[in-house]
Every structure is written in C-alpha cells, then in structure tokens.
C-alpha cells in the first residue's frame, strides 16, 4: 500500500530523474521532518510521561507513602528499627521468588512454578544432607543444579515446543509439588535435626544487630540478588536482549537475537534463583516442610505486578519487584500493628494489584 498517488503515466523514456511532478508542491510546505519541541502538556499528561520514562516511580512513591501513613497510625511500634528489619526478613523469601519471577515476566511470560521449585529444592538439599548423610555443600550444590534444570525444563517447553508459559508452569507446578511430596514422604525435617546434621543449611537464618535492627543474612541475600540482576539486566547485552524479547519477540529475532536460547537461559536462571531461595527459606523457616510456601507462586506475581513490571513484557525495572514485595510487607505489618483483622490485609493487597495494573495500562497508552 502506498500513500502517494501514482502520477499520470508518461509515454516514452522518463527524462529528468529526481522528485516526481506531484512532489513539487512540497517545496512550499514546511520542511521540518519532525521536531521535538515539547508539546504543552496538562499536569496529568506530564505525570504520565514521567512514569513512562521511570516506571519504578509508582512503587517507590507507594512504598514511601505507606511507610509514612502506617508510621503515623501505628507510631513507634511500626517505625522502630526492629520492626522495619522484621519486615525485610518477612519479605525476603517472597522477594527472592519475585526476582526470579521478574526475569520471566520481562520476557512476557509468567511462572507459576517458582515456589514449587523452591520448596522441592529445599526438600532435596535437606533430604540429601540430613537423611542420606551427603555433605551439606554437596547437597546444596545438587539442589542448585536441579533447580536450574527444573527451570530449564520450563524454558525448553516454552521456547522449543512454543507452549504458553502459563500452561507449562501450571503443569510443572503440579508436577514439582507431587515430586516434592513423594521425595519428602510428606514429612517435615525438624529444626533440631538440621542443627545436628547440617547447620550450613540454616546459614541464611543467622543475623546481626545494628542499632536495634535485626538483619538476617537472608535479607541481605535478597538485596544482593536484586542488585546483581539489576546490573545484568541493565548493563549487559544479555539483559537488553531479555527486554527486547519481551518487547517484540519477532523483531528481536530479526535483529539477530537467538530468542529461543535466551528464553531457555532466562527460565534456567530463574530456577537457579529459586534454588538459592530454597537455601534462604530453610534459614528463615527453621525447618523444612514440603507444605510450606504453597501460595508463594502467586505472592511473587503480586510483588512483580505491584512493582510496576508489565505483564505484557519488556517494561519495568527489576527493582520494582523488590519495592513491590516491600509494599506487601509494609501493608501486612502496618495493618497488623494497627489492629486490623488479617482479612482486611488480604483485601488491601487485592486492591493494590488491580490499581497497579490499571496504572500500567494507563502509562502504556502514552504516545509520542
């Protein structure tokens, strides 16, 4: 389809080469191709543009506001260094899962199996180290390898078999959960047994005190994972390819990116992060229960969505997921300290999810 009308056919050879007759009128028309003078914007449109450029701003503002509001309501008890560090501890496992989830959501996928992989891997390392007497470092190494493999299995089905990520991971969620029950015999491993046989498994439960705050190694691990992923996603070619795939997979492919390979790598990395999360979860919970974190899959998606990462892929910052997880933690802690029934905490989180997605849709409508 052409936008220019065809000129009347001229008999004989075309004489002059250059712009066609119908274009002579162009000389009189304005010559600028496209200027970038900032159009006058209403304050609302200005905000929309700002958010489009910095998508992490929404969760940052919500986090700051919610800390402020709960600080005013619950006062000292909420604002104490101890309570703030407790929030960090409480969100650390879901935060790590959200980091893995973010990688996949950035490729326009979704992973319903992250928590299932994590729990399965904590059972694997626990069972190996405590029941079977494998040296703890070896048991952990095995769980990292298997976690990566589990993620890779998801990735292969998504990239090579072209199955929808939602369906693939819905399937593997069930598969991993069943394997977990089978391998653990539906039995928990008690805290004392871990202490006796392999205290290394509870490494991330250790903590130190700074100015009244109680910082666990697990909380630090979560922050380190986010920092490393931020670097990888924003400062390496591979990270930019992850964004490009989520943005427009066909375009990325034509631009020379091996999209299938990168997708498999993304899922495998997510599986690896889940396995690290498994180690941290043993420290956080103290024991190893095959029934734990059953809602972790959806909680990680909640953190990612509240963090402003678009479920349509390619947009948002991984740091958003950290803020998303923290917002959930702050709400839960604040509402509890304010004496509000647990059901209203769930109610509030529900609205947060819907509002976050509504804001994402609104930001995406911004045009040139």
């Amino acid at each position: 389809m052409t936008t220019t009308p065809p000129p009347p056919p001229r008999p004989g050879p075309v004489s002059g080469r250059g712009p066609s007759d119908f274009e002579t009128g162009l000389a009189a028309s304005p010559q600028g191709v496209a200027r970038f003078e900032a159009p006058r914007r209403t304050p609302l449109a200005g905000i929309q543009h700002l958010l489009h450029a910095t998508p992490t701003l929404v969760p940052v503002i919500v986090l700051a506001l919610s800390i402020l509001v709960f600080g005013l309501i619950a006062g000292e008890r909420f604002f104490s260094p101890f309570n703030l560090s407790l929030i960090l501890q409480q969100v650390s496992i879901i935060g790590i899962l959200a980091a893995a989830q973010s990688l996949i959501v950035l490729t326009a996928g979704i992973d319903l199996s992250v928590a299932a992989i994590m729990v399965l891997m904590s059972v694997v390392s626990g069972k190996l180290a405590i029941t079977m007497g494998v040296p703890a470092p070896l048991a952990l190494g095995a769980s990292f390898a298997l976690g990566t493999l589990a993620g890779m299995l998801n990735g292969l089905m998504v990239a090579r078999l072209k199955l929808p990520p939602f369906i693939v991971t819905l399937g593997t969620w069930n598969i991993f959960f069943a394997l977990n029950l089978w391998f653990s015999g539906a039995q928990s491993i008690r805290s004392q047994d871990i202490d006796a046989a392999a205290p290394l498994l509870k490494f991330f439960g250790n903590s130190f005190r700074v100015a009244g705050a109680n910082i666990t190694f697990g909380s630090i691990l979560m922050v380190v994972i986010f920092a490393v992923l931020w670097y990888v996603l924003n400062r390496t070619a591979w990270g930019r390819h992850v964004y490009a795939i989520g943005d427009d997979k066909a375009a990325a492919e034509l631009a020379g990116i091996r999209t299938d390979r990168v997708l498999v790598q993304v899922y495998a990395l997510a599986g690896f992060i889940c396995a690290i999360g498994a180690w941290a979860a043993i420290g956080r919970v103290g024991s190893i229960s095959p029934q734990s974190f059953y809602e972790g899959n959806l909680q990680s998606i909640t953190a990612v969505v509240i963090g402003g990462i678009s479920l349509f892929g390619g947009r948002g910052s991984i740091m958003g997921a950290l803020f998303g997880a923290l917002i959930v933690g702050v709400f839960q802690s604040g509402l509890r300290l304010a004496g509000v029934d647990v059901l209203w905490q769930v109610f509030a989180i529900g609205w947060l999810i819907i509002i976050a997605v509504a804001i994402d849709q609104w930001i995406r409508k911004v045009s040139a």
Binding site: P6, V33, T236, R240, I257, A368
Partner: protein
C-alpha cells in the same frame, strides 16, 4: 558493466508444497548500484529476498557473494557475511532506545576486566558511534539518542533502521518496502537517505511497489514475474507504464 556482480544467484528454486515460489531464478547485484526489484503480488519477490537474506533455505541453485559461493542458514549468517536487511516491519524494539536498537545483537563491551569478566556494555562508545552514524545520514533531528524508538515518527523509525543497516552492512543493504508506510514528506527523506547510503559505495537492493520512487532512485530494475527474473530494465530507457506492463504480463520485453 564489465564488473562482476557482488551478489549473484543462479537457478534458484524454492517450493512450498505444490507451489513453486522461485522457479529457476537468476539475480545480479552490481557493486555500488541501487537495484530495484519489482513484481506483482505473488510473483515471488519476497521469496527471492528471503533467499538472499538467509530467511529461507533454497531447494536448488547457487548464491555467490563477491565470487564466493555462500549458503546462509539464518538471517544472522547473512548478516555476518555483510548483508543487512531492513524489513518492512523494521525489526525495532519499541520500548528500547535508539542506541540499543542500533546495536541489538552486536553490542560492544567495555575493554578490560569490566567487559571481559562482568560483560559490561560500553555505552558511551556505542552512543558516540550511533550519534555519528545518524548525523552522517542527516538524521540528527533526533535529539536524544537514548529516547525509546516508540516515541519517534514513522519516518524517523525508518531512518533508524536504515542507519543501522548502513552502519553495519559492509557489502549489501536490502530494503523491503521502505516507503510503504510513510507519508509524502517522510518518503522523500527516506529516498534521500537511500541515495546517501549509495554514495557511501554500498550497493542496495530496493523492493518497492512505488513506481515513482523506484524510477527515481534505481540504477537498474529487476522485473520479477512468475517466480523468475523476466528482464532487467534501465529506468532511463523505459517508462513506468512499460515496467507495469512487463510486471503484469500485458507486454513482453524486447
């Protein structure tokens, strides 16, 4: 024209089931020229272009680049050989910046430890290079090289895609319908851009339905019909209505 073609194809055949898209097709691109490829819908021009750019594997025939036989397993292989294609869809990632799009899939890393061990991108050097390439092609009305491609107009996006091809296409640049989605004024800019690229000595294959554009910039016109090359005409010696007549079979070339 005594010189050897830079890109040559002989006896290309491509079948899709019972449909023969390319039927013993020949093709020649001379160094430094703009060769337009025209043909009616379904004539097989896009199959020809895909065969040359590595997007499809041919069933029979031979392609030589600079006299060397080549066979491209993927667009990536063709690109590594120096054949850059600007697809009609442009293959740009809308949410990523102009620089990121120009370097997509061939990013530069920082020298030393940061690049080798931490795989850090050399963002300053990539920005400088992209800025150079865009201003060489007179595209610096684009002010901020870090702005997302989705904030650009259609013509500017086309400009970015052409600049990307020209910056890295060492041997051949293929343009698929570069003006099809553009208005009159933006088309004019893109045509100037094409002539600019040509003046750098890079030969161009231009696929277009727009006869005035083809007749304006092309040095030779490859008329494609029924899966093969019907003839190659000189735009200075033939009229547009001749070309359309050949293309549709209303008239036989002499």
């Amino acid at each position: 024209m005594n010189r050897e073609p830079i890109l040559k194809a002989r006896g290309l055949v491509k079948r899709y089931g019972r449909v023969t898209a390319l039927d013993d097709c020949d093709f020649d691109l001379m160094p430094g020229e703009i060769l337009a490829v025209i043909g009616d819908n379904g004539a097989g021009k896009s199959s020809l272009i895909k065969a040359l750019s590595g997007a499809i594997a041919i069933d029979e025939g031979e392609i030589t680049l600079d006299g060397q036989p080549v066979s491209f397993a993927s667009p990536l292989a063709a690109r590594d050989a120096g054949i850059e294609t600007v697809y009609q869809t442009l293959a740009l990632s809308p949410a990523l910046s102009i620089v990121e799009n120009m370097f997509m899939g061939r990013e530069w890393r920082r020298p030393g430890l940061a690049g080798r061990w931490f795989r850090a991108l050399d963002r300053d050097r990539m920005r400088a290079f992209a800025r150079d390439k865009l201003s060489e092609l007179g595209l610096m009305t684009i002010q901020n090289i870090d702005q997302p491609v989705e904030t650009l107009s259609g013509g500017q996006r086309q400009g970015v895609a052409v600049a990307r091809a020209a910056a890295f296409g060492s041997r051949v640049v293929i343009l698929d319908e570069p003006t099809a989605a553009l208005g009159v004024k933006e088309s004019r800019r893109v045509l100037e851009l094409i002539l600019d690229v040509k003046s750098r000595g890079i030969p161009i294959i231009l696929i277009s339905h727009n006869m005035p554009h083809v007749f304006e910039v092309a040095d030779r016109i490859h008329v494609h019909r029924l899966g093969r090359r019907l003839c190659v005409i000189d735009p200075r010696e033939h009229s547009m209505s001749d070309a359309v007549a050949y293309m549709t079979g209303a008239k036989a070339p002499h």
